[in-house]
Assembly symmetry: C2
Amino acid sequence: MTSNSPIEIVALRGGHVESSHRVHAVVAGPDGDATHVFGDPERVTYPRSALKAMQALPLVETGAADRFGCTPAELALACASHEGEVFHVTGALAWLDRIGLSEAALACGPQWPRREADGADLIRAAHEPGRAHNNCSGKHTGKLCTALHLGEDPAGYVARTHPVQRRVFEAVSTLAEHDLTDAPVGIDGCSAPNPALPLSALAVAAARYAEADPARLGPVRAQACQRLMQAMQAAPEMIGGTDRVDTDLIRAFQGRVLSKTGAEGVYMLYLPERRLGVALKAEDGASRASAAAIWSVLDRLGELDGAARAALRRHCRPEIRNWDGLVTGQIDEAGCV
Amino acid sequence: MTSNSPIEIVALRGGHVESSHRVHAVVAGPDGDATHVFGDPERVTYPRSALKAMQALPLVETGAADRFGCTPAELALACASHEGEVFHVTGALAWLDRIGLSEAALACGPQWPRREADGADLIRAAHEPGRAHNNCSGKHTGKLCTALHLGEDPAGYVARTHPVQRRVFEAVSTLAEHDLTDAPVGIDGCSAPNPALPLSALAVAAARYAEADPARLGPVRAQACQRLMQAMQAAPEMIGGTDRVDTDLIRAFQGRVLSKTGAEGVYMLYLPERRLGVALKAEDGASRASAAAIWSVLDRLGELDGAARAALRRHCRPEIRNWDGLVTGQIDEAGCV
């Protein structure tokens, strides 16, 4: 295991470091060994949306996904922080409708689409965004599926004590081999509970998910991991959307690497063929720093071929442009310029 | 002089530190002594828009402000990072028109208004934002005034070598007693040049500006500092806008403290009665951290009375709310919870 300082990401302007970020990261294998450590591997971190692929496991494991005929696109939506593009919203609404619910059943609050053009369309149509527009609406629809399938009252499904959330916490706890009894639990942007774990535990959990070994996880969980990873690969546009880093990354790596961003500067990466998982956290929560750090980690892992670099450069090593379109700076890793 | 670690600002969720920021800050007097240091006082920092009150000095000193009959509101606009509300834009356009120019003369690029409602109004009217919408349009109009007044070709007025910028750099260099010959110079978001100086130099410059002593600065510069500070107090809505921290701070302190934010987590504060200046920089560039730090500094200076706390709490010690309006966290200084 190589142990290093945090990854330092800098914003350069006029050739001078204007601002800098520290990113903590762990690369781990499924047996629990960290292969690479940057900064503090025990930093107790809210994974936020980076946890979604694990939060979606009960949807498949309980049989709810089969019961309701969930497509790969819907399974991907369950793992997504979507941008609120039209196909995301109509996808969520159609799924809710098929299970006999409307967006009124969602606990996640209304959210404007990320892309200005999509927001402008709503304004011109004099529409307000609804709960289905929330970037987590797929995750929440998946959770409602599990409640309905098991005959549970979906009301209050975002409470920590609701069976829906108990199943999610069990999946995370088991994959990470980390007791969540005393873990900090925050309320996420979408109102679902989010547990905080050490980065090392998150990385190991991601490695076990990526490995999807029935001997380690049991056949049901292993099969669920496989199915969800395949869904993300089949419908990457659901995971983020147009010009979003996770969507572009999943497309570029064609199964070699899957990624999921989380708010406050978090990423989790899955490398199925290499049986590795990665968890990283920008100390200050900046997404420009966490996105830059995934390039840094993947580069050290030897994963950045030409196609990957071309796909990720604008997300992970972007130029900084001003209001008149002039290039005024650059995001990079310290010491790399 | 008290010397400390950087101010640590934290984002709390579920009672746990989710993210953290380091803010470097210097409080100084006009003779060059730092009274308070947090972190690295020599950190070479782009002040960005925090420099605007100094960048506006030539507008007054050259006589251009009198030549063109500039109102206090226009002088305030010259010191502003305005939000692109209707009165900001019409104010800039009327000023440009009066000096015989249109927004085509501005080098700063088009920028959407900050507030969603103002942006929505543009969309519904099928209008695109113009150069006058740029938050720096007042600063740029002021610069054009100086060129016209002195018979200089305004073309290329944002070039470092243009007389307009030479006068700005001279004012900053003299106030700070800091040679800018070899200073890093970046291109700002508005396309104007922005020099980087040590935080200590910026703080001392702010102290001298705030003191506005004709014996130290000469009568012309001292009078210009006074006039611009009075303009900011007379028209604080110009400096930022509705529900913006600088506007609310200037109103709350009624002349005791003036503030100006800069991109990438910068603030400069002016305390005229106490002859103090403050310069601070969030290491990672986060505005939530720099805003929180001005509370921390003003608190240590004993400036936060009840009225100030009430006015600044939502900017500097805000609750974090999610998409459904639930309180999920808090911004605070580490060790204060």
